[in-house]
């Protein structure tokens, strides 16, 4: 009987943690994968429940669940190793969104061209841009600049050398700037904004 009570209490505490952390977990999953975010969260919850007894600090539950999610994402990525696209660095190094905007001047009536360009992107636009970047570059970018993981943490979580993560972050940023520009061109979003 006592054992059952303990199990119920554990489950209750886990459910309480999940209730609070679910939006953050699901949002992170959607930033990491195009499809299957819900499956990724389910797998995270399963693993999390099994390991819940190991969580020492109740206040760190959210970060702990996110770590499990990133581990699961890394494992999924490994299974699909053949589809991982490495991007040649040489082609990317020269792209600067700042200069492209200055040269192209897509918002000729704007006094703050660069800020207005960023302001034109809604949340779904941002997600679409992120999804254009291959996963191995997208993940470090998302974890570093959107979810606040340090580069060392990312290296540990993704089981990659720190130098590899720094190189992928560098390429990821380049790819991101280029993807923003191409997306704005393809969707004519600045035109839409200008036309009202």
């Amino acid at each position: 009987m006592r054992e059952i009570d303990a199990r119920d209490r554990t489950k209750e505490a886990f459910q309480e943690l999940v209730r609070t952390e679910l939006p953050g977990l699901y949002s992170l999953a959607r930033r990491l994968v195009r499809d299957g975010a819900e499956d990724l969260v389910q797998e995270t919850l399963l693993q999390g429940y099994r390991a819940f007894g190991q969580l020492q600090d109740d206040g760190a539950g959210g970060r702990w669940l996110k770590t499990i999610l990133v581990n699961e994402f890394r494992d999924q990525l490994r299974k699909r190793a053949r589809s991982i696209e490495e991007v040649a660095a040489g082609d990317l190094e020269d792209f600067s969104l700042f200069r492209t905007l200055m040269d192209d001047d897509p918002l000729p009536y704007s006094d703050s061209l660069h800020t207005d360009f960023l302001d034109a992107f809604g949340r779904e636009d941002l997600r679409e841009v992120l999804m254009r970047i291959p996963e191995i570059y997208r993940a470090p970018l998302v974890l570093r600049y959107m979810d606040g993981f340090s580069t060392k943490e990312i290296a540990r979580l993704t089981d990659a050398p720190l130098g590899t993560i720094l190189a992928r972050l560098h390429r990821g940023r380049n790819l991101f700037e280029r993807a923003m520009w191409e997306y704005s061109e393809e969707t004519r979003m600045l035109m839409r904004d200008r036309d009202g």
């Binding site: 939006p23 969104l97 200069r99 959107m146 940023r173």
Partner: protein, 80 residues
Amino acid sequence: MGKTAAAIPCSEAVRQLWDYLDQAIAPADQERVEYHLSFCRRCCGELEFAKEIRHFLASGASAEIPDDVRKRLARFVEEI
């Protein structure tokens, strides 16, 4: 470090701007970037825009979940 030794072209400064903001470059490189920024207005613009993009990314990290997904996942946890 002498000024000649510290001089780097714009392409090199721009390449290092995000790492500079992350404080992820060696002190000597940081000095070179800072020296470059001290006289190059365009790269100062690049630096400000890099800060804006970082802010833009951080502000896009919303924590939202559609109701139907939340309900399905809550049910999933109950059934574990």
